[in-house]
């Protein structure tokens, strides 16, 4: 039990401090101000801080508190305001990630498929050209400079003509609209051929392939496809590299129960493909995963156990001089060590539902996000915010589901989160909450997302306390921020956008 004597803790002790919260990890207190700066204090220091106020602390501690913007001065007020302003500015920016589902058909049948994809002959779930045109026009309605169009599925390459049409039509429209256009495709690559590859390369389309690890893991989740997928990935990678593409193909993986013992093997597979980083997300309860949950689903504890082993292995590689990063850690570290918003829509407050991303189904229905769209596929259209060709961008943004998600994912007003030390770094998901509990805002402590996020941030902080690991983390953060600086510039609002808002 803590040695704090609550009778000695007076509100006046904190009248010179920037608002903060705290969390005890082992013998250390992590003190985090509302804007994300943090300080590690020993138990003795922390008890003295809360019982007697900061002026009773030793000079080195006061200096550290000052350096980390914990004490109220003109400079710290300016910095805190700047961080807060950056957060608001981010939330007020128009949507720049637009996820399109050109088809629900898929050539695979992954055990955890969130998209609940259809078999290869369900052509009625292909997006037609009229709908595709309306989708692109709706996307250009978003008053933002950067427009990032991402194809997901189903397997997008199964409706290649529509993918091509969307890219060409967007480029055509952009001749007058003058936005910064980006294209991404998340694909299993199995249908890749030279014609497609040439087109994608020519139009700077960034490729992302799903890979769950070596064949004995990947194939268990996704059918016997590993070898062919890897072969295609290598080919795509080589072509992009030879062409000097600005952004090289990347990999993304999903974890199921089958993956649990293989943290090393999975990382090694990614290393062998020169991936440079790894992002393994746990399967969610959406789509087919819900039906197979007993067999494939992970408890938060299982995921965190895997994550910790994987992260430690990656740190070990870095300590030996290899540069290889882990993406969850980078997203959290950007906020922890640099107060920088990496824009990961699932770890933001408010989250990215509608305001950070919109998902366009094959039939032109628009959803708050891809997860909302997946729920729609299960027959629940709570998160449908409009229809292309009928709804304006303003309609989508003003839709009650958009507002409900923004409110339900704002941590400052969520009971439990509002007092939590990790609030500046965290994010909750109204769609998953609703799917798992029937409520947009359930008791956060009963949710999987809380358990996973709290666990990840604990794991990261524990390692930040180790100086040589802290240095590695800072390096990861800097590199990530450097590489994303162009995107941040691109995300600035257009004059047109400002006018729309006024």
């Amino acid at each position: 039990m803590s040695a704090i004597d609550i009778k000695k803790v007076k509100t006046s002790n904190f009248s010179g401090m920037i608002p903060f919260s705290f969390r005890k990890l082992g013998d250390t207190y992590i003190v985090v101000n509302e804007y994300g700066n943090y300080v590690f204090l020993t138990e003795e220091e922390f008890v003295s801080l809360v019982e007697n106020g900061p002026s009773a602390l030793s000079r080195p501690v006061v200096k550290e508190l000052t350096a980390q913007n914990m004490l109220f001065t003109k400079e710290t007020a300016a910095r805190a305001a700047e961080r807060l302003r950056a957060r608001f500015a981010d939330a007020a920016r128009a949507t720049n990630l637009h996820i399109i589902v050109p088809t629900l058909r898929c050539n695979l049948r992954c055990v955890y498929c969130q998209a609940a994809a259809m078999s290869g002959d369900n052509y009625e779930t292909d997006m037609n050209t009229d709908t595709a045109r309306a989708v692109v026009e709706t996307i250009f309605d978003a008053p933002t400079k950067l427009l990032s169009i991402e194809f997901q599925g189903g397997e997008p390459l199964l409706n290649w003509d529509t993918v091509k049409f969307i890219i060409e039509y967007a480029i055509e429209l952009n001749k007058t609209k003058k936005r910064e256009l980006r294209f991404n495709i998340v694909s299993n690559h199995l249908l890749m051929d030279d014609e497609k590859l040439d087109f994608l390369l020519e139009h700077n389309v960034v490729m992302c392939m799903s890979l769950d690890g070596p064949a004995f893991v990947h194939d268990k989740n996704r059918g016997i496809t590993h070898d062919r997928a890897v072969e295609m990935y290598k080919k795509v990678y080589r072509r992009y590299k030879e062409a000097g593409a600005e952004r090289l193909p990347s990999l993304i993986g999903t974890l199921s129960k089958h993956s649990m013992p293989y943290h090393k093997e999975i990382v090694d597979e990614y290393r062998s493909l020169n991936a440079g980083s790894i992002f393994m997300r746990p399967a969610t309860t959406l789509g087919y995963a819900g039906r197979n949950w007993e067999e494939i689903g992970l408890t938060p504890e299982e995921f965190l156990d895997f994550y910790e082993r994987m992260l430690d292995y990656i740190i070990e590689l870095n300590l030996k001089g290899e540069r290889f990063t882990e993406t969850y850690a980078i997203y959290a570290l950007c906020k922890i060590v640099a107060g920088f918003e990496p824009g990961y829509v699932d770890m933001k407050s408010p989250c990215g539902a509608s305001i950070g991303q919109l998902a366009y189904n094959y039939n032109g229905d628009v959803y708050t996000c891809d997860e909302g769209r997946m729920l729609g596929h299960q027959g629940d259209h709570t998160f449908r915010v409009g229809k292309c060709g009928e709804s304006s961008f303003a309609d989508l943004i003003m839709h009650r589901a958009t507002k409900a998600c923004s409110i339900a994912s704002t941590l400052d007003t969520t009971p439990g989160c509002s007092e939590c030390a990790y609030r500046p770094y965290c994010g909750i998901c109204p769609v998953l909450n609703y799917h798992e509990t029937g409520e947009l805002s359930p008791n956060v402590f009963t949710t999987r997302r809380h358990a996973v996020n709290e666990g990840i941030i604990d794991i990261i902080f524990k390692r930040l306390m180790i100086p040589e690991v802290g240095d590695i983390f800072v390096q990861w953060t800097k590199n990530y921020m450097e590489s994303s600086s162009r995107e941040i510039e691109g995300a600035k609002e257009t004059e047109e956008g400002k006018a729309v808002k006024e």
Partner: protein, 186 residues
Amino acid sequence: MPKMPMEIVFDPKIFSADAILGACHKFLAKCFITLEHSEDGKRIIARLKAREGVSVEGLEDEFRAETLNYAVKQKISKGSAKIRDQIFHIVFNPERLNALGGQLQTELETKADPDSVKLSARLEKLLEEIESEESMDYEEDPLGIAVPWEEKHGMPGDLLHPVDQLKRQAENNLINIETVKEIVDC
């Protein structure tokens, strides 16, 4: 093995109902909880019954520790509420920053209770002393804890340093240039 439901008694003069409710909210994932006043009305009694599969070992200590955490967090929140408000003002009206140290400071202090005035005076003195006597003497700071993160590790481009951010904002007319000059120059 502790008896279920376990009874935990609080003195509301020491632990506010809000602090106890905060802990209950967190523990609802683990336990069924009822709250009531003691017969004489002088105590709050929490009755906890662990949900299936939840270990009861240490449950009482954990609950008490969580109540204490909430009680401390509430005091922090209350004590620093005025500063939170001021920072919000500055976000929407950067010129407000100019008022800090002058009118605003007085405003903050006169509204605060006498203890807090004493404490902030002490703290201000300490900060001034540290600044003047050492002028950030890094030799006496072998761990570099007084060195801001940005100086220790360098900043990637113009993305991060708060002063640079302010400059950039001024260029974009998002913030008053005079404010920036003042901050950058001081």
